[in-house]
Amino acid sequence: MAAHAPTTTAEPPAGRPPAQAPPDLVRRSRREGRAYRRAPYVYIAPFFLLFGAFGLFPLVYTVWISFQEYRLGGGDPEFVGWENYTWLFGSPSFYNSLWKTLTIGLISTVPQLLMALGLAHLLNYNMKVRAFFRVSMIVPYATSLVAATLVFASIFANTPGGLMNVVLGMLGIDPINWTNGNWTAQIAIATIVTWHWTGYNALIYLAGMQSIPKDLYEAAAIDGAGRFRQFLHVTIPGLRPTILFTIVLSTIGATQLFTEPFLFGNGAEGGALGQYQVLTLYMYNIGFEIGRLGRAAAIACVTLIIVILLVLLNAGLAQLRTRDKGQPLIRRRSASTRKASR
């Protein structure tokens, strides 16, 4: 605009660009450029607005609450400094819930991922009605978790008439008091978790397996490797990133386990002796049953830190192992294959 001298025509009315006016072209292109640069921010804005309202704000607010004495249904928050945290680290129930989270996490995650891996390997073969088997894997995952838990709770009923106790009775084992025992309750809950997630993880593994080049298997087969050896030496190394992904997801899932133990025990106490009071149950118990929101917020913050540490640990371990063995292993095998086929 500045470069042009006003000679013949008057300025056109604002907002209606004339056909051949170089200054306005410049202006328009500049405006378009600005819009062009702005566009990405507009596109991602909805996510960040929602994230701000439902992700960031609750997070910040929880941290803030964790430094307050704040009761459910009464009174205003009152600043107490680190008191909620000192209380938490002095509470025996907190250490109990940490331990239960770990043990239930282990006895649910480890068998679950191993089984998923095995299932995915089997599903990866050519077989009849393969699609049916693959789809049926996802059925437990598609089932309502609440409904499934209630059904499992009646399967693991304490009475001799509970399905599990009937089955055990056929094997000549006395009825088990499932919910009251320490390990029996944990095993029952881990069973629900395993049932729910195994198929889901199997499908993720299956997807990972299909990205492994077929010639690796062919080469291994020519090399005389049976299916188990193929699984061990081709599938597993090729799946390493996928396995890491599922381990991270399962770890987070195990730390946030809530629905299953909550419905299994009809409340957040997790059994009379806290046999299955995992971290989230403890948080709910303190926050919403006992009504100390400040303390519950402190538990939430500590849980967040634990999850972050666990994920970092997982990632670190996996990287270490990849660097040590992962890539060279495949290369070594293909090298030996070449040698053998000669």
Binding site: R37, R38, Y41, F48, G52, A53, L56, F57, V60, Y61, W64, R71, L72, G73, G74, G75, D76, P77, S91, P92, S93, S154, A157, N158, T159, N177, N180, G181, N266, G267, E269, A272, L273, I286, F288, E289, I290, G291, R292, L293
Partner: protein
């Protein structure tokens, strides 16, 4: 390039500002305190819809008894809309969250007596003081215990009592007969003259039936034992005395020893298995506040009609378990109409009507006197009006405390540990003490 970078920095700042602003907002949100101004009389000519958010069948019972329809007939300008959840704990969590966030309350919100201490000590800004309403007179018909429970330090009364739970013992007369024990309440009362004989009759029952359970749950027994004492977890001054007073530990020991003797069925109250056992007769007796009768009828079903009976507590003891209050939020736009409805529903006339129809037992003393002649066919024609009004008069006026819920929960867990996990009573008590000091302290 340059402008893009500044803008992204601005965006970050904006998000941060948003976070801080919303934090500040919410910090203020909790402390809205409105002055408690008197509530006037409801305008009979203005159309109004009164919303109710309730729990545990309080309003379902009003509807069943025809009280809601009757009120709307008498007040053509009023429409009542209620919603109800079954579990009090779910209801309370939702209610408390709404109070904390400062919005979303209905025109009438009931609360249970176990929450009364918290309500009267921390929520005086939230609820209408019923003494500042045209219906204040009606509170004189209520027991001191009920009114005292919702009275604040400043003397405001934050709710109108709906019902009460005077204690008795319900028993399976058919099962007792099978065991060779008297099934008639008068004869049974001669054998059960105190708690010791209650337990020894239970041992006879277990012997005769091959070890069947006498009581439903150790928690229920503990509940009735503590309900007849002058104090429970707190003393008159509101100080927690549960660890040393003459109620909690002795009752705990007695209940734990009954569990060790195998007199209890090992069930948790309100569990599905406990519901089933009411029907199958897996236990013979149960501590029975007035509202339990309706629960038993529902769970035991028509096929057990006439198999149950009601026995007053031994030694003419009386206790109370439960009861609720109707409260009206100060911020309710319809509070005049809501207070009027709440007062009518808790009036002597309405409460007596409800009890006569086999529903909740009145808290209103006038209604209690009017209904002493009520009997219950399902329970072998037991004179429940007489039994419960006597028990209500004998019930002590127990002081309540803010952490009653947490204390009861921990002790209940300890008793379950004795019953189901074989933990020694002393060890279980230590566990309860540690848990309570940890959660309440």
């Amino acid at each position: 390039m340059f402008s893009a970078r500044t803008r992204s920095r601005k965006a970050v700042l904006a998000v941060a500002a948003l976070g801080v602003a919303s934090l500040g907002l919410s910090a203020c949100g909790g402390s809205s305190s409105s002055d408690s101004e008197p509530v006037g009389t409801a305008d009979p000519n203005q159309d109004v819809t009164i919303t109710v958010d309730s729990f545990g069948g309080i309003f379902a019972n009003y509807e069943k008894a025809g009280l809601l329809d009757q009120y709307m007939e008498d007040h053509p300008n009023v429409t009542i809309e209620y919603s109800e959840v079954q579990q009090e704990s779910d209801y309370w969590t939702a209610l408390a969250t709404k109070i904390n966030s400062g919005s979303g309350l209905a025109d009438i919100q009931p609360f249970e007596i176990s929450r009364a201490a918290l309500v009267s000590s921390q929520q005086q800004d939230v609820w209408v003081d019923m003494l500042q309403t045209p219906v204040a007179d009606q509170l004189e018909e209520e027991t001191d215990a009920a009114v005292g429970a919702v009275t604040t330090e400043d003397g405001a009364v934050l709710g109108l009592p709906t019902d009460s739970g005077p204690m008795a013992i319900c028993y399976r007369s058919d099962k007792l007969e099978e065991a060779g024990l008297p099934s008639d309440p008068a004869e049974l009362a001669q054998q059960i003259t105190d708690w010791d004989s209650y337990e020894s009759v239970g041992e006879q029952y277990a012997e005769a039936t091959g070890g069947q359970a006498w009581m439903d749950s150790v928690g229920g027994y503990y509940r009735v034992l503590t309900s007849v004492e002058p104090v429970r977890n707190y003393d008159e001054e509101g100080e927690p005395t549960w660890e040393t007073n003459d109620t909690v530990k002795p009752s705990f020991d007695r209940a734990a020893s009954a569990a060790e003797k195998g007199l209890t069925a090992g069930l948790s109250q309100f569990d599905p298995a406990w519901n089933t056992a009411m029907n199958t007769g897996d236990f013979a007796t149960i501590a029975c506040p007035a509202w339990m009768l309706g629960y038993i009828k529902q769970q035991a079903g028509d096929e057990n009609a006439g198999n149950w009976n009601v026995l007053p507590l031994p030694q003419e003891l009386g206790g109370n378990w439960g009861g609720s209050f109707l409260a009206v939020p100060q911020d309710s736009p319809n509070r005049e109409a809501a207070v009027d409805l709440a007062a009518w529903l808790t009036s002597a006339e309405a409460e007596a009507d409800e009890f006569r129809q086999g529903l909740a037992y009145p808290s209103n003393t006038v209604a209690q006197e009017q209904t002493t002649d009520v009997t219950d066919e399902y329970f072998n024609g037991a004179p429940i009006g007489e039994i419960f009004s006597t028990a209500a008069q004998a019930a002590p006026n127990q002081p309540l405390g803010v952490d009653d819920g947490a204390i009861d929960q921990a002790i209940g867990d300890a008793l379950t540990a004795v019953e189901a996990n074989g933990v020694a009573p002393d060890e279980a008590w230590q566990l309860a003490v540690r848990t309570i000091n940890d959660t309440v302290g």
